[in-house]
Symmetry: C2
Subunit: 398 residues, 2 copies
């Protein structure tokens, strides 16, 4: 192992005493991000004003950071660009893929996908009309459901609720064998485990950066287009910064070169500054090391909770090949149990209807924290201390 | 006049000696924004982590700030929400309006519109198929071109190049008389002059915040939906935060209540923090005062430049009713002249092919700065000092 996880842990500013197992929802603050954002606000925006677009390199940032993310997801250089939200990028990838497969009308997804992906597909299908439809099957039925009617598969590799991981290579291969294109959502993959987009031959991929990549709340998304599609893909959301010559202000749209065409509007410069600081932490990280440590963390948590809390039911696959970097347990009173855990300094989250969700992010979580979290959870379950009114009042955001 | 423009000027951190006439492109840094963003990064993201969505109020921020912008654009409370970029919001407004007028297929716009609006409409038309089209006429022909084939008008009130202002009331009235819906782009209106969306009966409106509203580079956009359409409008880009119950994680999309449905993905929390600080400056500003001062500034600049620089041709209407809050002059060597001005400490910008563009933002620009800018421009034109190679090399971002 060449990765120094003691160093990566020190790169984050996490409140003392807190065990943060929710980096799969919102990553913690990289220590360097506060200064980087402050510099962006004061020296760049404040000091350079409009000239920051050139002098501070704001305009090139989406592609420059995209290249740094490319390494983590096995993408070729020049194939990833930042911008917008994951939902918007899902729409672009789907619309683009559908247009490239004009004889077919079906988007295939699964019920384990994050709902926003399904909602965006629903909105796109509605706008397209003409018999387009979204077909949703159970996660375990995806491979079999890919037939010659499917235009595009839209699958999230790792299930946001259970942490169950799809076989990206097998699904992509089957999609291609049946004449479909494969769109992958890497929301719970990028920075969580090694991804090999080029190796599996993915057509499009999208992901967010505020989870395992630690860009902060509302950090921008990314989109990947395979090099073989770079000049054929139409962005659907064809904004001026995806134009071949944005500052010519032509009245007619002409798609920009390669991945640049997937840009839409003005990039969120302050959020990108935070992301840039977060990406520095990844420079010395080997993704195989990350995966080994992630599996050690999740194995230990599963074993510990199963031994101490028999009333919780494991929802995450035991098989390493089918597991992301999170562990989930089911319990009918999951919401209250999670609130009790949070009150005791262990932050995970709850996903309806009954999932307790724990993210294990090797950059800043160690085995000692896993053991302490297991101990606290075991205490709450043994004492029944979650069974209080204040833990049962649902917050707006769960 | 009740507005204290000395106080608003002091609320901005502008480099000493600089005359900043480019607030129509990127507003300067509000002094309070640096601390507000730093607090968001350190105390909220760093200290609250995932609980910031509830504890720091991140989730409600898009509607809360939307209400503050509503006052400036004459919108009813609860009709404006923040998110995404202007281009994305143009797409949503257009798609939604088209769906509400199903018997018609034409989007009407004009050649003075910002190209990204036209590009987004082009992308939407391509996705819709079925005979939908974008019809673009000269700005002065818009009113006449609204006929019974038009489904939606998509007009930017103030021309980004010339500062020419459309008659929003007349165009909206004609659109409605002919059975069309009116979508307004307020990019160069919001915070620049009084807008009366409710009064003119606009159907949809969109705008950005990094110009006259001073939210910083890449600040989020806003969208307005008239109350009468609130429950009929479909967002087209139907993301999870526009769902009726985002945290129920239902598989089927159900649009949220009213304007909330126009939300898409996770909001850019750091950018919204900057915007929130910027909005505080507007609390004591009367929009009629703002307009009076804006016209005084632009009148003085026009008179000064015309007197001192006969080789520059005014591109902005003299008629107050037809003018926004910027002044533009044409010159074949406009690019080089603007670079010479910037080198001399007067920041405006250039828009192809020949426009020198100057924004007059009453919150922080005064008559003395207008006079100094005129003097510097006159000196450059009289001496021909713009005619140097270093002023003719085009930057990536102009």
């Amino acid at each position: 192992m060449t990765t120094d996880f003691t160093a990566t842990r020190k790169a984050f500013d996490i409140p003392a005493g807190l065990i943060y197992l929710d980096g799969n929802s919102l990553g913690p603050l990289p220590r360097a991000a506060a200064a980087r954002v402050a510099r962006c606000v004061t020296e760049e925006w404040g000091g350079m004003l409009i000239t920051g677009w050139n002098r501070a390199g704001w305009m090139d940032q989406p592609a420059r950071i995209g290249d740094r993310i490319a390494r983590l997801i096995g993408a070729e250089p020049g194939t990833v660009v930042m911008g917008d939200t994951l939902s918007i990028k899902v729409y672009q990838a789907l619309a683009s893929a559908l247009e490239m497969n004009p004889g077919r009308r079906v988007i295939l997804s699964d019920t384990g996908n994050f709902p926003s992906d399904l909602y965006m597909a629903d909105g796109l299908v509605r706008t397209l009309g003409n018999g387009y439809s979204l077909r949703t099957v159970a996660p375990e039925e995806v491979l079999e459901a890919i037939d010659e009617t499917v235009a595009v598969t839209m699958i999230t590799e790792v299930d946001y609720r259970t942490g169950r991981r799809h076989d990206m290579a097998a699904i992509t291969e089957k999609a291609h064998a049946m004449g479909a294109l494969a769109v992958w959502d890497l929301a719970h993959s990028a920075g969580a485990l090694p991804v090999d987009l080029a190796g599996v031959g993915a057509d499009f991929a999208v992901g967010c950066t505020y989870k395992y990549l630690n860009s902060g709340p509302g950090g921008p998304a990314f989109i990947y287009v395979a090099p073989r599609h770079a000049e054929a893909a139409r962005p659907a959301l064809s904004g001026w910064l995806g134009h071949e010559a944005p500052f010519a202000f032509d009245l007619a749209y002409r798609p920009g070169r390669g991945i640049e065409r997937m840009r839409v509007g003005t990039p969120p410069v302050l959020q990108l500054a935070a992301l840039e600081a977060a990406m520095d932490i990844w420079d010395g990280v080997d993704m195989a090391d990350l995966r080994a440590r992630s599996l050690a963390l999740t194995d230990r948590f599963i074993a510990g909770v199963e031994a101490a809390c028999p009333m919780l039911t494991l929802a995450t696959p035991r098989d390493h090949a089918q597991r992301g970097s999170q562990v989930s347990f089911r319990h009918a009173e999951g919401y209250a149990i999670m609130q009790a855990l949070i009150a005791a300094g262990v932050i995970g989250d709850f996903r309806a209807p009954d999932i307790l969700r724990f993210g294990f992010t090797p950059l800043y979580i160690g085995l000692d924290e896993v053991d302490r979290a297991v101990g606290i959870l075991a205490g709450i379950m043994a004492s029944g201390s979650w069974d209080r009114p204040e833990f049962k009042t649902r917050a707006k955001v769960t």
